[in-house]
């Protein structure tokens, strides 16, 4: 319940404040969002399997975001920024699909 309230507050705050993304963060924000989504989907799966642990969630969320951002930063420094961010998105996308498939199997048994 409380996370749902947090979700609502986040959306409303984003809509109302309309902040501009700081220039330095602009390349990393999309990747960070995908990484965080991976953590959230993973948490939903764990919730469904009744083995959700908030400590694991917090750590995985933050580490996902940091590692993804760092990889993009590293890629930018190496001159392969766009390729590496594509790779990161692909890997995270695969993980999201896998977790979503597990959730689906648990709910629909299919």
């Amino acid at each position: 319940m409380i996370p749902v309230i947090g979700l609502a507050i986040g959306i409303v705050a984003g809509l109302l404040l309309e902040p501009t993304v700081p220039r330095d963060l602009q390349p990393y924000l999309p990747i960070a969002i995908v990484a965080a989504l991976d953590a959230v989907i993973g948490a939903l799966r764990a919730l469904g399997e009744r083995r959700f642990n908030d400590r694991v969630f917090v750590v995985s969320f933050i580490s996902n975001v940091l590692i993804a951002s760092f990889m993009v930063y590293l890629g930018d420094q190496l001159g392969v920024g766009s390729q590496l961010s594509t790779g990161v998105v692909v890997v995270l996308g695969i993980r999201i699909f896998a977790n979503a498939a597990a959730i689906r199997r648990r709910i629909f048994h299919a």
Partner: protein, 234 residues
Amino acid sequence: MPESRWRSLFRPTVAQVVVAALIGGLAFAIVVQVRHEDKDDYSGVRGDDLVELLKSLDAANERLSTQIDDLTATRDGLLNSTQRSASAERQAKERAEELAILAGTKGATGPGVEVVINDPDKDIDASALLDAVEKLRDGGAEAIAINGVARVVAQTYFLDDDDEIRVGGREIKRPYLIEAIGDSSTLAGAVRFPGGLIDGISTRGGTATVTEQDKVTITALADIKAPEYARPSS
């Protein structure tokens, strides 16, 4: 169970608050990013991507320039050929009109003479009339009509028929009025000179008068039939 849930809402654990904050931050970031993308500017694009973008734009630009050149050349060529065919068409039209006058399929107007042949004793026959027409042709007549009904062209024949004369199949009555378009003074000279048209008519017993006209209009048309045997040789 619901009771404990409600209680947990008012006394959340630290972990719950942290999870809520993380999810709220994610939602916030998604909203911000989505709205930022809507603005559709290039401030968030990486330098490398910008270079690629610029390169592809350059390439597209070059391609389009060559296309413009090609199409301009094509257009110029088409314009040229249009002009050429237009002038060819104009020339062909003029030629067709000249030929139409010659063939007698079109009316004609211009300076010329009117020759009136009086024949009270019915002495003038077809050959005399043909002689008269030949004299006018010698004088440079470009279009000739008799009595306003019979156009005289290359195929026109003259025929005696029961006191009447048929010209190209049309019966013509006395007195004969020959209209001819051409240089009026030359035509009048050809009619009047000794041994000319007037002399020829009077030796056969008729009388002829000629008047020069500034404008003679011939509306009679010849009956043309398509050549049955002759074909253009080229």
